[in-house]
């Protein structure tokens, strides 16, 4: 079996089937991340395609000294954030805004109603975070990555990543448990 780096080198020499192999290896990761970020299978499919097309077109800029999967997840992360921005499902990512008082549970009442039926409490809490914070938490737990990998993907120092994780988890915790307590009282 070829390494990712070998497959990249083969692709650059014109062997397209080598790139097919890379798609087979990582489409699932990219698709899952896109799906969790967008919560829309059609969007996730389009994004996945876009991620690999961009990777393919800029393959010569990939540095084989780094991990290919981190590189592709970096492209995916950027596109997911862009996508949410375009959809207007985004507030300011500045840290000041990340306080419990300012943030609503969901920015858009219509989609909130749409989601409330099928979306779990944890997803609702997650959606209430700015996209960059959602992304960090998904990379950490849903993708099961290490802090170092996340730092590489986000191009941020590990300290910054840790701070984000800490704050995001704190807010998730508050929201998740306060919603559940509300539910228990109602019941």
């Amino acid at each position: 079996m070829y390494s990712d780096q070998e497959l990249v080198a083969k692709t650059l020499k014109g062997h397209k089937s080598a790139f097919d192999e890379l798609v087979e290896r990582y489409a699932k990761k990219v698709y899952n991340l896109s799906l969790r970020m967008t919560r829309d299978p059609a969007d996730a499919e389009d994004l996945t395609q876009e991620v690999f097309l961009r990777a393919y077109r800029s393959l010569n800029t990939y540095n084989p000294a780094y991990s290919f999967v981190n590189w592709i997840l970096k492209i995916a992360s950027n596109l997911c954030i862009d996508h949410l921005r375009r959809k207007g499902d985004v507030r300011d990512d500045s840290d000041e805004l990340l306080s419990l008082e300012v943030q609503k549970t969901h920015p858009d009442p219509e989609s909130a109603a749409l989601y409330s039926e099928q979306v779990s409490e944890i997803e609702k809490a997650l959606m209430s975070l700015p996209p960059k914070y959602q992304l960090v938490m998904l990379l950490l737990y849903a993708e099961d990555l290490k802090y170092e990998q996340i730092a590489e993907i986000l191009d941020e120092p590990i300290g910054t990543v840790k701070t984000k994780i800490h704050r995001a988890r704190k807010i998730l915790k508050e929201r998740f448990f306060s919603e559940r307590e509300k539910d228990t009282k109602k019941a």
């Binding site: 397209k16 798609v23 489409a27 699932k28 698709y31 499919e45 944890i122 997803e123 988890r169 915790k173």
Partner: protein, 196 residues
């Protein structure tokens, strides 16, 4: 055994480490310290439980079936295979009622390499030759498919139909306003030629 509910400096110390404890990032010695405090302090133990619960819930977030992924893989491979040959085709998704807009605004820039370019909009050929080779299309005004032959195309906004570039590149969105203003006047003229 009676739990010590009072917040102590031991608690403060433990709380600082809880994130790393839950993620399994602590050195064995420190981890043992935290563990032993959690046994004797119900309030820190509860906090740890809650943090753990959040991580567990997040790791359980749904994933896709193998069949779904296979479909995506095929689609992506097909798209990539088409790309980088002589023809590139890309579907850009549309938000909302673009159909109402009538005009396609073709912006023309002259600062790229010279050569003939022609367009088709909805199959209607608009054979057009110009100095530049790059078209900037305001997609919010484009009612259907756009095909550019022999030129590069930039798309601004989202487009309903297909954008195809034959023997050229489809370049991602233009964000740079200066590019647009530089070429605007020339473009309006082209636009009029196309739609009148």
């Amino acid at each position: 055994m009676k739990a010590n509910e009072q917040a102590t400096s031991r608690c403060d110390y433990t709380r600082l480490l809880l994130d790393d404890y839950v993620d399994g990032n602590l050195a064995p010695l420190v981890e043992r310290e935290v563990k032993s405090h959690l046994v004797s302090c119900s309030s820190c133990a509860e906090e740890a439980e809650r943090l753990k619960k959040i991580s567990d819930e997040l790791s359980r977030l749904g994933t896709t079936t193998t069949d779904e992924v296979l479909l995506v893989v095929k689609k992506v491979q097909k798209a990539v295979r088409k790309d980088g040959r002589w023809c590139k085709k890309r579907r850009l998704k549309i938000a909302g009622a673009v159909a109402a807009s009538i005009a396609a605004l073709l912006l023309w820039s002259t600062y790229f390499r010279p050569g003939p370019v022609s367009f088709e909009i909805n199959g209607k050929d608009i054979a057009f030759h110009a100095m530049g080779k790059t078209v900037v299309v305001d997609a919010s005004r484009l009612p259907g498919d756009l095909t550019v032959i022999g030129g590069d195309v930039y798309v601004t906004g989202e487009i309903e139909g297909n954008v195809t570039s034959i023997d050229g590149r489809i370049v991602a969105k233009v964000e740079d306003g200066s590019v647009l203003s530089r070429v605007k006047r020339a473009l309006i003229e082209i636009w009029q030629r196309i739609w009148r």
